[in-house]
């Protein structure tokens, strides 16, 4: 049976598929590519941090590892500058997962708020390594082979690759949410000690969730590298990325499925638009920061929960009104 909820998902997917066919202005399709990359990353991030309550502020580690893996492999394997580069994107995701294992082994030993700080510290270890080691090209970064596609259709393959990553992340996140494993993550969020007492292998569950969530973020980073054609340590290992991803998920609704998708779509599009509109970076920081404050202070549950609360309040009022009418009649 086709339920109303599923119809909305299909309509949304249809709109995303059609978007680059209708809108051909490269300025807007570029915004679309970025928005989709962030939608995929935020959804994947939420699959661990949103469900378990362990807020990872070092997700740029996965993003950067994905980007560097793809770039270095393309260089060593002499992949020509064409569609073949896209096949390396999942490899970038796998590399991010492999790196997430030791990172998780260290960071997940502590409880929530220390975890947040450790992920930040580990992030800086990676950023500084990318700057200091010679195989990463240091601060001058690395170049990818040029892709000689026509400028008018240049964005399309990237757009659909980003869409594929996002759909994958959303499906995986939904599957986890409904599984026993997802319930264990949620139990850890609600009360870790009690979950452990009830037989959840908390460390193993956390490590598995942390590692899984690195995959799509790594693919996002790898795609970003192909899209831009060059990478620098400070752009793929970017502290703003760490915070943006968390903000997008929280803005949309932490731990919900729609939340990170919606949050990333709105915030990333707006961020890209503001960057183009105000070339003045300082003004942009002030606007973005103020908006961020308003969201966190007034809608701490996120827009999805905020709206559904509002709808259920409206429904409650209607029921209340009906009762009054019935009461008068009798």
């Amino acid at each position: 049976m086709l339920r109303a909820r599923n119809v909305w998902w299909i309509l949304a997917l249809g709109a995303l598929v059609l978007f680059p066919l209708i809108e051909t202005n490269p300025t807007y399709t570029t915004i679309g590519v970025f928005a989709l990359i962030f939608m995929g990353c935020a959804t994947s991030w939420n699959m661990f941090s949103g469900y378990s309550g362990y807020i990872n502020l070092g997700s740029a580690v996965s993003y950067g590892v994905g980007a560097y893996t793809l770039t270095l492999l393309a260089d060593h394997l002499h992949v020509p500058g064409n569609g073949d580069l896209f096949w390396l994107i999942p490899v970038g995701g796998l590399a991010a997962m492999i790196v997430a294992v030791p990172v998780g082994l260290v960071a997940l030993r502590v409880r929530r708020h220390t975890f947040v700080v450790i992920t930040i510290a580990i992030f800086f270890v990676f950023q500084l390594s990318a700057i200091n080691f010679s195989f990463t090209g240091g601060t001058s970064g690395l170049q990818l082979p040029l892709i000689p596609w026509l400028e008018t259709n240049y964005n399309k393959p990237f757009y659909y690759a980003a869409l594929a990553i996002t759909v994958f992340a959303a499906l995986l996140s939904a599957a986890v949410r409904r599984s026993r494993f997802g319930l264990q993550l949620l139990a850890i969020r609600d009360d870790e000690d009690r979950a452990a007492g009830l037989g959840v292998k908390v460390f193993a569950v956390k490590l598995a969730g942390f590692t899984m969530s690195a995959f799509a973020v790594g693919m996002g980073g790898a795609l970003y590298a192909v899209f831009l054609g060059q990478i620098y340590p400070q752009f793929v290992f970017d502290p703003i990325f760490d915070i943006s991803i968390a903000l997008m998920a929280i803005f949309g609704g932490l731990g919900t499925l729609t939340g990170p998708l919606l949050g990333a779509l709105v915030l990333e599009s707006m961020q890209q638009y503001l960057t183009i509109r105000f070339s003045n970076g300082s003004l942009y920081l002030i606007i973005f920061g103020s908006l961020f404050l308003v969201i966190v202070l007034f809608m701490p549950q996120g827009i999805v929960v905020y709206l559904s609360d509002w709808r259920s309040r409206r429904a409650a009022q209607r029921v209340e009104g009906a009762r009054v009418v019935v009461g008068e009649a009798s």
């Binding site: 030993r109 930040i120 000690d193 502290p239 920061g289 103020s290």
Partner: protein, 294 residues
Amino acid sequence: MNGTAVLHSIIDGVLTGSVYALMATGLTLIFGVMNIINVAQGIFVILGAYLSYALSVHLGIDLFVGLAITIPTLFVVGIVVERVFLSRIKGPERVVMSILVTYAISLVIEGVLNMVFSVNYVELHAWYVNRSVRVFGFYLPYIYLLGFALAVVLLGALYVMLYRTRFGSSVRASLADQTSAALVGINVRRVSTVCFGLGVAVTAAGGMIYGATNAFNASSSYDLISRLLVIIVLGGMGSIGGALIAGIMMITIEDLVAVVWGPVWSNLAFFLILVVVLSLRPQGLFGKPSVRVA
């Protein structure tokens, strides 16, 4: 490399580390009393540095004399930020929310500072900034010695306030257990506000010394906050003594690594030490092991 160079780097490390210890103490005090991780501490340091800069360049006020203006100013900034924004954060995700709110505040301040002072690096100047004094055969910059003295004086004042006054007992009671503190009649809200003010006020002094020893702009705050966070986690979050020792230790080790292996490795060593220590001792060097953190 020789023994003298190593000894010199240790002395430099202790002198500059004390200033970091001061800034980290403010951060850990805020965390201990309020359960808030103040990510804006880095930009407050830079704000303090720019205030000293403005006072010395435009009004010709000496850096140390200027502290009489900048420390109270940042105290008031802290109080306002706590009252207007942080007191609104409630609920189980308080720590995470506090990180996001203070990060947003730091973005806004960064934007304003970039507009007012531009993104060009500046440095604080005074007669004691570029001169050194010879002590036991080592040339030590005056500013390092003065910074060390300032940090010791302010940490001493903080110690007296915490351990010798009635307000200090309230603060320590709130550090230990907020609910019990409230039950014995301590106004935890007021204590929190004042503590946030104090924690931010010390950044005025830290910022002045930082600005006199480094060229800075608003984005230097990222570097600062990442170091300060590492220091308080390493010391054990909420432990004031831990922040002191970890601050001096980390900066000293960083300076040592810079001398022994070269400056590019010193930053990396700084963060790697944290990772190694936490693998062995997850609660930090002086932290209490956390049971049931809701």
